[in-house]
Subunit: 509 residues, 2 copies
């Protein structure tokens, strides 16, 4: 690898910097990192390990190793190890918004070393504009091109970059030559006005273009332009296993029933699918399913979406980021001229906008860590205390969807954890927000059911056979103890399964 100091001399980005005024601002990542001050609030591009700033965060971490100081790090969502990992290891992050998936950062925020604020991803940009988190000092955004007027063409994600650019006092741009220029034209940038001046966001279907192809930016705000040739370090996806295939089949059958009942059109409604292997498997399963002319309105575009596009089953695929596996990224680059016809990348404030999700009627499919018999979902915490990743966009979609579905394997840790419990150890999606639950065991459709009816159905359809008797026993005991209260809870047993796991290594008695 090149020394960061030398990178600027070797990587020629002049033809990608079309704004003449900025040609003189091309510097090394090392020099750009010197423009960041201790305690700065720094907002960087990136959503999943795609389109994130790489060279300057690495250089900043290098600087912090010698000259210890901290910054607040704001992003779109998770970013690659070059940012989260390197800065965490340099002990350089004070506050971290709004999502992460990095192993080192996870350790740091679960040991008090990093203050982490886990937010609904659609809300970050507006809260920054509202001034709720203080002034943003620096934005660092990866682009594939700077236009004549200084506007910035993002790469494989949009995230919060438009707002970071509009709000930051100074902007550092990383021009990444590993990102192809065929990305130009794939983005649709729209930043709403703030109340009381906001207008309805004029998007009516997933394919509508409502903004500009590039992020507007006053060139005088740009303090440095940095060459970079480090590709996105995307995450591998787990192979699609039998459980994931079973969930996919259950959901296809469920959709067929909804069509038969007249509650869904034949081409369904716009699909949203969360990050991860189960969600990817479900989408991939649809490529072999009976539905055509599908549309996608989602947060991240994973490999399964490419399967759907390749199968000719998708009219349009809207998201805020590509989030393919390393092989998926190669596949995307290799066929980008075809994929770009179907894919639109938007700011996460638009891709994840709950008002739009409700308007266009998305079918939201997200993954739970655990859910309880009454329909509350935990998406974030392991045994109540430890943060896994974050709520991400699941809450943006789940509450506002036409249909909201949570998927999970019925058991984890070789059967020692039941994903269906008496009471979740953290609630990210309250019972009011949930409808349909799916495990490899089956589907529980809880629409219009009371808590006790939901409990019986979830146990019957979704729980693993090993845990069904224990769940039923809990429910009956709670009903008896509370004389059939609305949501019967045993205050001293509700969290006892989690407690048992932490003590014995298994939820089983």
């Amino acid at each position: 690898m090149l020394l960061l100091k030398e990178m600027v001399m070797v990587i020629d980005i002049k033809d990608r910097v079309k704004c003449a005024a900025l040609q003189g601002k091309i510097v090394t990542a090392y020099d750009a990192a010197l423009l960041i001050n201790p305690n700065d609030k720094v907002g960087i591009s990136g959503f999943t390990p795609s389109g994130y700033a790489k060279a300057v965060p690495l250089a900043l971490a290098e600087r912090m190793e010698k000259e210890p100081f901290k910054i607040d790090l704001w992003t779109g969502a998770s970013v690659g190890d070059e940012a989260d990992g390197a800065l965490t290891r340099a002990n350089g992050i004070n506050r971290r918004f709004p999502y992460q998936t990095n192993g080192d950062t996870r350790k740091a925020l679960n040991s008090g070393a990093v203050k982490y604020i886990d937010m609904h991803l659609s809300t970050m940009a507006q809260n920054v504009r509202y001034g709720f988190f203080g002034d943003l000092d620096v934005a660092i955004v990866e682009v594939c091109q700077i236009n004549e007027d200084g506007s910035l063409v993002p790469t494989t994600s949009v995230g919060n970059s438009p707002t970071f650019v509009s709000q930051a006092k100074k902007v550092i741009v990383e021009v990444n030559v590993s990102q192809p220029l065929s990305l130009v034209g794939m983005h649709d940038i729209y930043e709403p006005l703030d109340p009381p001046h906001r207008k309805p966001i004029p998007l009516e279907t997933p394919g509508d273009r409502i903004g500009t192809e590039a992020i507007p930016c006053d060139p005088s705000k740009i303090v440095a332009v940095v060459p970079c040739d480090v590709p996105d370090t995307t995450r591998p996806l787990a192979p699609i296993d039998d459980d994931a295939k079973a969930m996919s089949q259950h959901l296809i059958k469920f959709f067929e029933q909804e069509i038969a009942e007249g509650r869904l059109p034949k081409n369904l409604l716009p699909l949203q699918s969360g990050v991860g292997s189960v969600a990817n498997a479900v989408i991939s399963g649809l490529a072999k399913g009976p539905f055509t002319d599908l549309s996608i309105y989602t947060e991240v575009i994973q490999d399964g979406m490419f399967d759907l596009i390749d199968a000719g089953k998708v009219t349009v695929c809207s998201g805020t980021a590509l989030s393919p596996s390393p092989d998926g990224l190669k596949r995307f680059y290799a066929n980008i001229d075809e994929y770009r016809k179907k894919i639109i990348l938007r700011p996460q404030e638009i891709s994840n906008n709950p008002g739009i999700a409700r308007r266009i009627g998305v079918i939201a499919m997200n993954t739970a860590i655990e859910f309880d018999i009454f329909g509350n979902v935990n998406s974030t915490h392991i045994m109540g205390s430890k943060m896994m990743n974050g709520v991400g966009g699941s809450g943006d979609f789940a509450r506002s969807a036409y249909l909201t579905i949570f998927c999970t394997n019925s058991v984890a840790k070789n059967g020692d954890i039941s994903s269906i419990v008496p009471y979740v150890s953290h609630v990210d999606h309250p019972e009011h927000d949930t409808m349909i639950f799916c495990t490899e065991q089956g589907v529980a459709d809880c629409r219009g059911l009371s808590p006790v009816e939901r409990a019986r159905l979830i146990i019957e359809k979704c729980a693993h056979p090993d845990y069904k008797p224990m769940l039923t026993e809990y429910l009956e005991k709670a009903l008896a103890a509370t004389k059939n209260a609305h949501t019967p809870m045993l205050l001293d047993e509700a969290l006892s399964w989690h407690k048992r796991f932490t003590e014995t290594g298994s939820m089983k008695k």
Copy 2:
């Protein structure tokens, strides 16, 4: 009181039934109730005890006493005792959507006699249209007038009536002569199309009129027109006590700071205020506060709003229902020609629409039963199991607001319950949805804070002095036990305060 059978002969509603085709359909409530079949799904008007169907539910309950059968009862929100109470006592309710506050109904749903589905109030209408709850058999709506074309002018609430009317197989109309004709013109009826055809709801400010003054209705669907002269039985509001005054003062001071910091305009942003005495006190306090040209975009309009209007401080007040005290209702009727200039009543799908709340940037103020040190809010359940009322509209606003505030007294039951606990016994509003907490003790502004920071601030600012040491002890013990995990929880103590209360009558050790 008149016998229901006789009511039609005495109450002359002919001049309020302007649609000639319907003159021949005027019948008694008794006869109209005969049009309802066992197991019917029945949707009635009403939101809080305002504008609810009265005569036909009473007659139906009378019929059920002799000839036992059940229906599913759908409403806007809570309704008066003539509907919820009478039908519950007649053992006539199978399933009840989406909110209630009746003492007898509460007992029934906490003993397994009624299946209650507690929902975000903005979602009910669309879920009915989507067919998620099955076909609606009968709509019963209270009106003050039927227009020439059959369209229906609601009374003191709109609620879900437009959708019940559009979706029901047959419609029964109660013409209530106790409701003044000055109500005509106060309503703005807009029913969105369903996905994939929905358009952006074109409302940009709280005062915008986007629909019609009456609910469209094909006269051929109307099977009975019933005279009624029973006034709304509204609920008294608790007197504004010192604690409520303190909360009001804390919030006024908080708003002043936000203006000083440039995060709120001088006339604030549209105010939303939940149902109940604390919320009413806060609004009433603003009448004496420094802010002018206020706008209201809320669910229910309580007495405090009349104070604000009378003080000349409100430009417009938009809601789905009037919900005054009995004295407040008299005050409204006495001065209706002035109040009608400022008040707009909308369907709850619009008044509570999360997309609009976010667009116009409401300041959401709602009441919690309890909240925990990490910022999760319980709005519904007593000690985990027993349903109090329901989540109502709080979730429609809390997650989508510009600022979201939860208020509660720091203690209840003469100090034996702390409203701030280690972990709430039911989560209606997860930590991701909350920002600012207010008790009579003070305000905790948790924007941008990590869970542990929130915990320290909530304990410091909001907890009652009697419980501060216990809360701090829990937090420190949890931090030590989890080695500073992101959200430190003691699985065997998190709900122990509730358990202790159920066993000893006090959360105190």
